[in-house]
Symmetry: D4
Subunit: 252 residues, 8 copies
């Protein structure tokens, strides 16, 4: 968008040389151009979609990760870094002593906000203990967004009585995240038991033609139970975020 033209138009309106209607017509034809500094950008994001930028740690140097995290924390009072490294945590921890390192999901977080009342309704169901690190990324994300999360573990499809014994809890959830690797069958089973929407979260647990989680993802995509949607393999953050937004939680 042509910022100078926008300014020109606004000056014409200010000078009475162009009507508000004419200006409106013209401005809608051009693309907007907010030339924002870094901090402004974060504000805008919070306002638009209710969540400060989360730091994706996988392809960043520890130094960059720590620096970006510190700026966000400084501004928002809360920060989450996913798929990070312990080295990045140590750098960040020097600046933010209250920071926490979660070994399972390899996540860094810190939160100095007042604790609001938590919003209930998010359940996270994990098929096996190997799926726990991914499940915990989902739990952490939804919790930081203000949700009370019920984590139910070790309820794989090869022993369904373990799942059915938790049916009451599942029935109370307003959204259920189902975490599974290998054949990825659990979301179909849960989807057949509950009225709430199910977010299927495939993990890379498995070997051979599990293809790093692709087999689980495909199975979930083809679920014969309605009301199941799927996020990327090991994307606990994405599942947790969507679950939180379904129950109406936002970062602030």
């Amino acid at each position: 968008m042509n910022n100078s033209r926008m300014n020109e138009v606004l000056n014409l309106v200010a000078d009475g040389k162009m009507s508000a209607e004419e200006a409106s017509s013209e401005l809608t034809l051009i693309t907007p151009a907010p030339d924002l500094d870094f901090a402004t950008l974060d504000h805008s994001r919070s306002e638009r979609i209710g969540f400060p930028e989360v730091v994706y740690g996988l392809s960043k140097t520890p130094k960059d990760t720590a620096e970006i995290a510190a700026r966000i924390y400084d501004h928002s009072g809360v920060v989450l870094v996913t798929k990070s490294s312990e080295e990045a945590f140590e750098l960040f921890n020097k600046q933010v002593p209250e920071a926490v390192w979660e070994e399972g999901p390899r996540a860094i977080w810190a939160d100095r906000r007042d604790n609001p009342d938590l919003i209930p309704g998010v359940a996270v169901v994990a098929a096996g203990t190997s799926d726990l690190p991914v499940a915990r990324e989902a739990v952490l994300t939804a919790t930081l967004m203000g949700c009370e999360v019920n984590l139910i573990t070790d309820v794989g499809v090869a022993g369904l009585h373990r799942l059915s014994s938790r049916a009451d809890e599942l029935g109370e959830a307003r959204v259920v995240i189902v975490v599974a690797g290998m054949e990825g069958a659990l979301p179909s089973v849960v989807g057949g038991l509950v009225k709430a929407p199910v977010i299927a979260l495939p993990t890379s647990v498995g070997y051979g033609v599990s293809l790093g989680g692709v087999a689980a993802l495909l199975a979930m995509m083809n679920s014969c139970a309605p009301g199941v949607s799927v996020v990327n393999i090991d994307n606990g953050f994405g599942a947790g975020y969507q679950a939180a937004s379904i129950v109406g939680a936002t970062w602030r």
Copy 2:
């Protein structure tokens, strides 16, 4: 599960030969065994997950489709057949004159229930006119489940001003289904604009390495916008169902 053992246990309790506590302990150890007829099964489903069985028409003969649809309609007062054939519709239509054929999504439906108040909050956004048949399957599903759906079309990423002019409407949605084929970029853009959860619905529109919609599905799975989950290619029913369940709608 051993039905005869369950009956035995219940008789023992009735006869006072076994306490309720002992019976409870034993019954929880065995898998349940409802030997239901067809109609009972539907009731159970409605109670469990809030939606009578939807008929998946793709691999059924027209005659089977029409018969199954008639039985469900007879029982529930509402029926939806997805990915069906006109021939199946004609057979069904002879029995149910009020039945409707939707050419785009190739769906059959009928609904003789009283119209309840519709639940607002579902928006469906389609990238191009070629994506409309799939979008309409989503709209139809959510509508039959009791939702008021706002359909926004022809707002592809190569002309974003068309999308931004609808931003107000998007902002009001409690869940947004985003339908796109080819590069599947639209859910990322919408996900960056709204607070509501986004259900990405890839379509098979495209050729060459669109791979029948796989390219779009993969793009959606890797969305850099949080709060995006994905359903199978052309699965308008699944997206509509999940959207309805997110806003709290059930079949009845």
Copy 3:
């Protein structure tokens, strides 16, 4: 293998010019060479692996199919043609009036043998009605091989109570074939319920990233339940054949 050399050796032995031991040593070094005519070949097969050649109909002309089937039937008193065409059946039916056409699996068969006692122990479990044609190919194969087959249908994972009500029957099986398309989750659930070996039989039922049954096949390959092995997509014949061989059935 050098047939002439074998004859030479045998003549040397017959003539007393070579000892049986020397002949044995030499003959074991060369590969055997049965120059059999067509009928002999079938005998050999029946003796080796217990089943006359089954005709794979998919890439044969109707005329070739009918002719080959007639020769096998003439010789064995029983014949099975899988994945055939109605046209091939009609040609074959002219020669063999007692021949049967099974519409679902598109199979031709005829059997003029005395009915032996059937061997019990084979159960076939199908997830949905769309999976029935493939399930029936398995049932037909095992039945022709002399098994009594228990077919259990419409017990998909999204409504598990339907499955558990049949648990008694499953518990009596010595081998269970589990037929499913879409997400292919059912074998894992059944594998967790029974002691018998489970043969998972994926079907091409589904669309989008079901990838013509590949998603179901991958899920079954990654089953978290032990004792599950898998055959090719829609290969009801292979599953039925293996199940029959597990309970000790052979063609005759």
Copy 4:
């Protein structure tokens, strides 16, 4: 974007209650909202990227195709429909007698504009006669955009002398589109001969592990010659469009 807020702001400026600077700051923070009718949209596109909307015919009904094409032609004086059907052409032809049907690429076009001077510099090189339909889609696109196109055919890598005899012509091109199926080797060879950028255009010509053109596309993506970029399989339109934009041509 919030249109009503934009109007509010403009009225505040018109009324002197807000300065142009303040208005500029606020307006840059919100997303624009042109609520355009169909015709306006086309104008906007021509202005933004220099080409009216081209109609992608593959997933549209003949009736829709003809109608959309007629509206664009009416407004722009030129229209191109790619991957269409003869039926769509016949419907369009009734309204636009000067319309042309190109059998090879299955394209519809019409152009009533004055002929401007053509811009030289685009060469299209096709490996075999089977690649010609795709090559012609590229030629047609670039020609309608105002380019003079030199088409060189039947110069596959298995007989390179055929290519080298056209080296002079290639040397004069400012951009070369190279069209090939099967092993897709030709762009590498051409890329080693010319200074101009090479657009590689894979075709679906081939069988077996040509995988519908994927083998050619992959080969082109891995070209050892620099200056080669690739478009989708059979995407003659995309290649022609980019070539035209490289030599500076726009639709008008």
Copy 5:
């Protein structure tokens, strides 16, 4: 399932306020809910499918592996950990001095049960020496389940006389596991020689387009010999387990 409702129902029956028949009808409609502790769960599994939980070592920490293994061993008198690490073995070995580490398949096991009579009939055939670690995982599994296993090695298809010299042994088997990497052809050859069911076990031996064992798995899936089913790449445990269940072995 609603446990409290079950208790309510049972109390109603105990109090004579509900008949056993009515209770049976209601209870079959709800899913069971055994709230079992860890040890109980193991018992249940042994009873249901005849094998205590085997520990999958690949995605567990050495500490977790050793702890879980110790609890199972303590309870069952036998334990098997597959795809583990030497570090996990050392931790486990401190608690269980009689534990064994198998370098090839990287398995941990211990067995303090009385030796029952072994069940004969399982043969394991390995194509090459590189396939031995996977073959040994199958042998170990079946042996711990009470089978006498005949291991036949180095009989690849490129030298078939090696295989035919073992034909007598193969003929005696009631089930044959065939282990092969690379082109995975051996199961087809063995399937043509024996009446017993064949479990094909692909290995990741190979390079290039062996694709980590996928080529072998696909070949086995497409075997022209009937009676062949397939398990996941390198899944010696699964093959051994199924073979044992075919000959009727269970853990105890």
Copy 6:
């Protein structure tokens, strides 16, 4: 290459204004430029690689196919069209009454040359009758190139005695083409029996995860027998051509 510059150089040499050495230096720096007409091109090909251009029929119209075939036949006295249509044959047959249509491989050929002595040494081995059409394309190609071909059929790996009975014939071949679909195991077995090079020719026979012949192709690529190379799926022409070139045959 710059033809005019070449002519200039040659004139300078003819005029004694440039030495042969200088000319040689310059000419080697530029790419050659034979501007040949169609007939000349064929001559050049015959001289370079010993075979006139074979017509690939799959993506040509019947009319184009017939015309191109007629021109080649007119010039060379022999022509082969692969993967063609009966319609193309009929058009060609009107011009060339001696033309032959081979239904299996869908090939057109004609040959009016004197019959030379055939070169022995090519064997073609086909696994099943379904593989015969592809095998016959190989036989036809090698025969037209002047080879005497020994076709051995129906010797699949699931009944190896059928193969070993033909071992003498295989031992006499100087090159063996092995044709197989499904699991593609036969080339490995043959490669272990003969000294001659083996050309593996995968076919698209199969279903499910045969993936249109990809499974067979992958298996052949991973053959544990040395001396095996592979051509594209169903590429009987390529295999026959290479076999003929190995025994030293050329078109003339």
Copy 7:
């Protein structure tokens, strides 16, 4: 090509025994044969396609890389090594003290040429900071080829206002390289905003079904915006080279 025959022909012409026309006819029939030494080869390349050979570092030893780089630098005064190692740089740096190591793209370069006027018109747009190393390889390549490059970063599709604020700069570009990983949506958005050709450059940033950049590449291939072509994943060099050649830049 037959060098000796070329010399023979040239001598015949020099000796007046063959006319220039006859010689021309014959020379066009044979393939050229420049037997060049290493340095000559580079010259030839510069003349033909305007760029000295760039060293691809990925599969070379540090020693070989440094040596080859030194020879090119010695001859051309400029050298670029892509995807190299710091070890290779250190070896090269000993010989060429002015050499530079770029950590991000892992590139080595040196340039002792006089600085010419830079050619404007190349813009490089990167979606996220993780894409910067690849973007910088593109910038470096185009810069060394004589272009002035405008790098615009951190303008991903999930926050489009960041992109639109740079619209003026994009509008001035004659070619735009768009760098993105994950869902690869940015090129479609930019392609809808600018008239210039867009080169889409996918990166391997992502996890799960980003498949190492394949998801981004596929999305870009299917862009609904015209004028977009694509290079290999992480191929910053190729994108930079093509962009430079589009604006008319050559190495010298």
Copy 8:
């Protein structure tokens, strides 16, 4: 095969109780059973296919590799280990001081046989220096089998004059191995230049969608030049072996 039955038959013949004809008939019906020791097995292989067993080093421990190599060398006087490790070489070297380690292809070899006259006719052409290690595995294999090999390097398709200058040498070859990674185009170009059969040898050189050599392999499979067959990625041994067998070389 039933060895005891064979002995029985032979004794019957020796005793005159069965005629040679009857014995021949029976023996052809059973599979042979050479129960050979290790050394005998090698002899058999040499006789059958002309090459002692080559050791595939990739999935063997250094100790096993060295031991097996030593036994073969001891027996045959020549040994080749492919894709091995330096550690294995060092162990082998202690026993066989004349052993050689080839760093490029990571091969071990030793040869104490008298040098026979080498068989000419094998050419190996490598596209780039990165392809040399694989090319050298091919050269080494063919050389050890008794061939004189002509290695031509650095003649990639992006600079074809380098290839054409070697055309004389190529024309003299009786078989040409063409080694290339990336786009794998070179075999098509060479196949268009020579009469000899071409063995295409794809390498894993490349990145991104080279997919570890799959792109090159696919391109070679789809070569438009006839007479091209393909071996596995990086399989220099297989290509060298087949080339040697084409020119009639055997190990001895």
